[in-house]
C-alpha cells in the first residue's frame, strides 16, 4: 500500500518549494524593474523616464507575471492560505496592486500620450514605489501570522451560515490587524532592496557614457549601504520578536545559519567589488544572489509552516489527489517558463541609452 499521507506531504512540500521559487523569480526580476521605477521618480525629465521604461519594455510583463504564477500556485496548491491571506492583507495588497496596475497602464499609455505624458511617468514611478512597499508590509504582516478561528468571523452572520463550510478556519481579525511597526519596517526594507536592485539593473543596462548610468552608479552606492543597514536591523528585529525565529537560529543547527550568513556577506562583497570595477552585469548577478540566499533562509526559517504559527504546509495543502493532479500537469511547465523567460531576457539584453525612449511599438 502507498502511504498516502506521506505522498501528500511530499507533494505539498514540493509545491511549497516551487512557490518559494516563483516568489524568488518575482522578487529578483521584477524587483529590479520596480527599483528602476523608484529611481525614475527622481528622473530629470520625461525622456529619462521613457528611456528607463524602454530598457525593460520587452521583459517587464513576463517578470511581473511570476507574481501571478505565485498567486496561481497558492490558489492551486494551498487554497486555504489563498482564501485567508487576502482578508488579512487587504489593505497592503490593495496598495501593492494599485502600484502594479498603475505601472502596467503607464507603460502602455506613456508612449502614446502627449500632454498627459508627465502624469503617466509619475504614475509609473509612484506605482513602482507603492508596489514594493505594499508587498513588503504584507510580507512582514505574514511573518506575524494570521489571526484565525473556526466558523464565521463576524457574529450574526454565523447563524445564517450553513455548517457545511465551517470546518475550515477563517480569518477573524480586523482590517488593520496587519499594521505593526515591524510590518511598516519590512515595507521600507522592501523599497530599499528594490532600490538597490534597480540601481544595479540600470548600471547593467545603460551605456557608460549615459547620464542615467552615471547617476545610477551613485544611487547604487548609497543604496548598498542602506541595504546593509536594513538587513542587520531586520535580522535583529525578527530574532527579538519571533520566538520561532530565535528557536531555529540558535537551535542545534546554529552553525548552518552562521555559514549561510558568511555566504551572504561574501556575495554582497563580490557584488560591491564588481560594481566598483564597473563589471555591471556581474554586480547585478551577485546582488541577485544575495536576494536568493536571504529568501531561502527566510523560507527555511519558516519551515514547516507556510504561514508562521498559522498554517503548516500540510494543513494548508489541497487534498492528496488534487495536489497530485496539480503536480502531474504543472511541474513540467516550470523549466519551460524559466526557459522562455531567460530567452526573452537574452533577446533584450543589449545596453541602451537615454535617447532610446519607449515610443510606441
Amino acid at each position: 500500500m502507498f502511504d498516502l499521507a506521506r505522498i501528500a506531504t511530499t507533494l505539498s512540500t514540493w509545491w511549497w518549494l516551487l512557490l518559494c521559487l516563483s516568489f524568488l523569480f518575482y522578487i529578483g526580476l521584477d524587483g529590479a524593474d520596480l527599483g528602476a521605477g523608484v529611481f525614475a521618480l527622481f528622473a530629470k525629465d520625461e525622456q529619462e523616464r521613457a528611456a528607463i521604461m524602454a530598457s525593460m519594455a520587452g521583459v517587464w510583463d513576463a517578470n511581473e507575471t511570476w507574481l501571478v504564477v505565485a498567486g496561481g500556485v497558492i490558489f492551486g496548491a494551498f487554497p486555504l492560505v489563498y482564501g485567508s491571506t487576502f482578508n488579512y492583507l487587504l489593505i497592503p495588497l490593495a496598495f501593492a496592486l494599485w502600484g502594479i496596475i498603475s505601472r502596467a497602464i503607464a507603460f502602455e499609455f506613456h508612449g502614446h500620450a502627449t500632454r498627459s505624458k508627465k502624469s503617466w511617468g509619475l504614475a509609473f514611478a509612484l506605482g513602482s514605489l507603492l508596489a514594493p512597499f505594499g508587498a513588503g508590509v504584507a510580507l512582514g504582516a505574514t511573518l506575524q501570522g494570521f489571526p484565525m478561528q473556526h466558523g464565521i468571523a463576524l457574529e450574526g452572520v454565523a447563524a445564517a451560515h450553513a455548517s457545511a463550510f465551517d470546518a475550515i478556519p477563517h480569518f477573524s481579525g480586523g482590517p488593520f490587524s496587519f499594521l505593526s511597526p515591524f510590518s511598516i519596517w519590512t515595507g521600507i526594507g522592501a523599497v530599499i532592496a528594490g532600490g538597490l536592485a534597480g540601481g544595479l539593473y540600470l548600471c547593467a543596462r545603460f551605456d557608460h557614457e549615459d547620464p542615467i548610468y552615471k547617476r545610477a552608479v551613485k544611487w547604487t552606492n548609497l543604496f548598498s549601504l542602506l541595504a546593509l543597514g536594513a538587513i542587520v536591523i531586520t535580522l535583529i528585529w525578527s530574532y527579538a520578536i519571533f520566538p520561532w525565529v530565535s528557536a531555529k537560529w540558535t537551535g542545534p543547527y546554529w552553525w548552518v545559519w552562521l555559514i549561510w550568513i558568511l555566504f551572504i556577506l561574501f556575495f554582497a562583497y563580490k557584488s560591491m567589488m564588481a560594481h566598483s570595477s564597473r563589471q555591471d552585469f556581474a554586480a547585478l548577478l551577485w546582488g541577485e544572489g544575495v536576494v536568493a540566499l536571504m529568501w531561502f533562509a527566510m523560507w527555511a526559517t519558516m519551515f514547516p509552516y507556510i504561514v508562521p504559527e498559522t498554517w503548516t504546509i500540510a494543513q494548508a495543502a489541497n487534498p492528496t489527489d488534487s495536489i497530485a493532479v496539480f503536480t502531474l500537469f504543472m511541474t513540467g511547465f516550470f523549466p519551460i517558463m524559466i526557459g522562455y523567460n531567460a530567452y526573452q531576457i537574452w533577446v533584450f539584453r543589449g545596453r541602451t541609452t537615454k535617447m532610446a525612449a519607449y515610443s510606441g511599438h
Partner: protein
C-alpha cells in the same frame, strides 16, 4: 470589466497570426502593415487586460475568501493551471512579439505570435472551465467543507463547459473580426489608406459569414444545456414563471417584453408569443419548460437582468449575422473595392457601429450567466452568502472605491489611446525591409541585433513629440 479587454486580445491574436502568415507566404507588404497596425490596438487591450486580470485574481481572495478555500481542490487547481500554462506563457511571448521586431528572426517571431494566440485561447479555456463548473458542478463531493474532486474528467468537461467554451471562444473571434472590419471601414470612410484596409475586409467578411451563424448555433446549444442543468437560470432569462397555464395546458409562451413583479412571483406585464419557448428549448411544439413556480422563492434568481441582457445579446447576434450577409453580398456583386464602398457610406457606418456591438453582447452574455446562477455561487451547492468574505463596511467601501476608480481609469484610458492609435493610422509604420538586416559582421560599428550594444535596426526609436 476584465471581460471587456480579454476577448479582443484572444481573438485578435489569431488575426495577427493569420496576417503574419499571409505576409510571410505572399511577401505582400500590405499584410505586414495591417499586422503592425492592429498590433497596436492589441497591445493597449493587452495591458488593460493584464491589469484588470491581476485585480480579478486578487478579488477572488479578497471578496470570496471562504469560497476560495472551499473550492480550492478543483477551482484553485484550474486557476493555477491557467496562470501557469496560459498567463505566464502569454506574457513570455508577448514581449517577443511586440518588441522582438528586428531582434529575432522571422520564424521565431511567427512562433511567438502563434504562441500568444495559443496561450490566450488556453487561458480562455481554463477560465471557462472554472466558471462553467460553478454553473454545473460535476465530478466533486463535499467533504470537511471542501469540494474534493471525484472525477477530473467530468469536472473539467462539465456540461456547461462543452457548449460554453466554444460559445465564448467564437465570441472572441467574432468580436476581434468586427473590431478589425469596423476600424477598416472607418478608414475607408475617411478615405485614408482605403485600398489597404479594403484588402483586409475581404477575408474578414468571409470569416464572419462562417463565424456569425456558428455563434448563433452555439448559443442555442448552450441555451438548451442551461435549460437542462439550470432551469431557474433559464426561467429567469425568459421571464418564465408558470409551467402550466390555469387551464392545465403547458405554458409554451415566449415573452418579447416582460415586467416581473416585485415579489418575483410573476409578470406584471408581458407580450407573449405561444409555442416559441417550447420550440427554442425542447425543439418541440408543446415541450414542458419548468417555470419559476417549480422552485422555492429562495432559489429564484432576479429576472430583470438576465431577461433583458439575454435579449440584447441575441438581438446583436442576429444583427451581426445580417451585417456579415450584407458585406458578402457586396463582395459577390463586386462592390467590395474602395471606390464602390465609399459610395455606400451607410454600409461602412453600420460596420463601424457593429464594432461596438459584440462588446455589448459579450457583456450582456456574461451578466445573464452570472445573475442567472444566483442565489448560488456554486450552483446547488454553495450559496453566494456562504462564499463571500465577511468584511466591515469600511473595508468594502475602501475596496470598491479603489476598484471602481481604477477600472474607470483603465477603461477611459484604453478608449482614449485606442482612438489615438486609429487616428494616427498606418503612416508611421516602417517598411518591413528595414527590420531584418543582413548581418554585416559589425562593420558599421554596431554588433548584430540583440547582442551587445544595440544599434536601432529600424525606425530609430526616439521620443516622438508629435504623436
Amino acid at each position: 470589466m476584465h471581460i471587456l479587454y480579454t476577448p479582443l486580445t484572444i481573438g485578435m491574436a489569431w488575426i495577427l497570426f493569420a496576417l503574419e502568415v499571409a505576409w510571410l507566404r505572399t511577401g505582400n507588404e500590405r499584410w505586414y502593415r495591417l499586422e503592425r497596425f492592429f498590433e497596436k490596438i492589441f497591445i493597449i487591450n493587452f495591458g488593460a487586460g493584464v491589469a484588470t486580470g491581476v485585480t480579478m485574481e486578487m478579488a477572488f481572495g479578497i471578496l470570496y475568501g471562504p469560497f476560495s478555500q472551499a473550492v480550492g481542490p478543483f477551482f484553485g487547481n484550474i486557476l493555477g493551471f491557467e496562470t501557469i500554462t496560459a498567463f505566464m506563457y502569454e506574457a513570455g511571448f508577448i514581449g517577443l512579439m511586440i518588441f522582438g521586431w528586428g531582434k529575432i528572426g522571422k520564424g521565431m517571431h511567427l512562433f511567438s505570435t502563434f504562441n500568444v494566440g495559443l496561450s490566450s485561447t488556453l487561458s480562455a479555456f481554463w477560465i471557462l472551465v472554472a466558471n462553467s463548473w460553478m454553473q454545473t458542478p460535476d465530478g466533486i463531493f463535499l467533504k470537511h467543507g471542501l469540494f474534493e474532486v471525484k472525477n477530473w474528467w467530468s469536472a473539467i468537461f462539465n456540461e456547461n463547459c462543452i457548449w460554453g467554451f466554444p460559445h465564448m471562444w467564437v465570441a472572441t473571434i467574432e468580436l476581434a473580426l468586427f473590431v478589425t472590419v469596423g476600424a477598416s471601414a472607418w478608414f475607408i470612410l475617411k478615405n485614408r489608406n482605403a485600398d489597404l484596409f479594403t484588402k483586409i475586409l475581404r477575408p474578414a467578411l468571409l470569416a464572419l459569414l462562417i463565424v456569425t451563424p456558428a455563434q448563433i448555433w452555439l448559443g442555442d446549444g448552450l441555451g438548451r444545456t442551461v435549460a437542462q442543468t439550470q432551469p431557474t437560470s433559464l426561467a429567469a432569462m425568459e421571464g418564465h414563471y408558470r409551467t402550466y397555464l390555469p387551464d392545465g395546458k403547458v405554458d409554451t409562451g415566449w415573452h418579447i417584453i416582460a415586467f416581473p413583479n416585485a415579489q418575483n412571483t410573476g409578470n406584471v406585464f408581458a407580450i407573449t408569443i405561444p409555442h416559441v419557448l417550447s420550440m427554442l428549448e425542447t425543439h418541440t411544439m408543446n415541450g414542458v419548460v419548468p417555470g419559476m413556480d417549480q422552485f422555492p422563492a429562495k432559489d429564484r434568481p432576479d429576472v430583470w437582468v438576465p431577461f433583458y441582457s439575454f435579449r440584447i445579446m441575441v438581438t446583436i447576434g442576429f444583427f451581426l449575422f445580417f451585417v456579415a450577409l450584407w458585406g458578402n453580398w457586396l463582395r459577390l456583386t463586386g462592390k467590395l473595392n474602395a471606390t464602390d464602398l465609399r459610395k455606400r457610406p451607410w454600409f461602412l457606418r453600420t460596420v463601424v457601429f457593429s464594432a461596438f456591438l459584440p462588446y455589448l453582447a459579450v457583456w450582456c452574455g456574461w451578466w445573464t450567466r452570472e445573475v442567472g446562477r444566483q442565489p448560488w455561487l456554486v450552483n446547488g451547492l454553495m450559496r453566494t452568502y456562504q462564499g463571500v468574505s465577511h468584511m466591515t463596511v469600511g473595508q468594502e467601501v475602501f475596496w470598491w472605491v479603489g476598484y471602481i476608480i481604477f477600472e474607470l481609469t483603465v477603461w477611459s484610458g484604453s478608449w482614449y489611446f485606442f482612438s489615438r492609435v486609429i487616428a494616427k493610422g498606418t503612416d508611421g509604420i516602417p517598411h518591413s525591409d528595414t527590420l531584418f538586416h543582413q548581418d554585416t559582421g559589425g562593420k558599421d560599428g554596431g554588433e548584430k541585433a540583440g547582442g551587445g550594444l544595440v544599434k536601432p535596426t529600424f525606425a530609430k526609436p526616439t521620443l516622438d513629440k508629435n504623436v
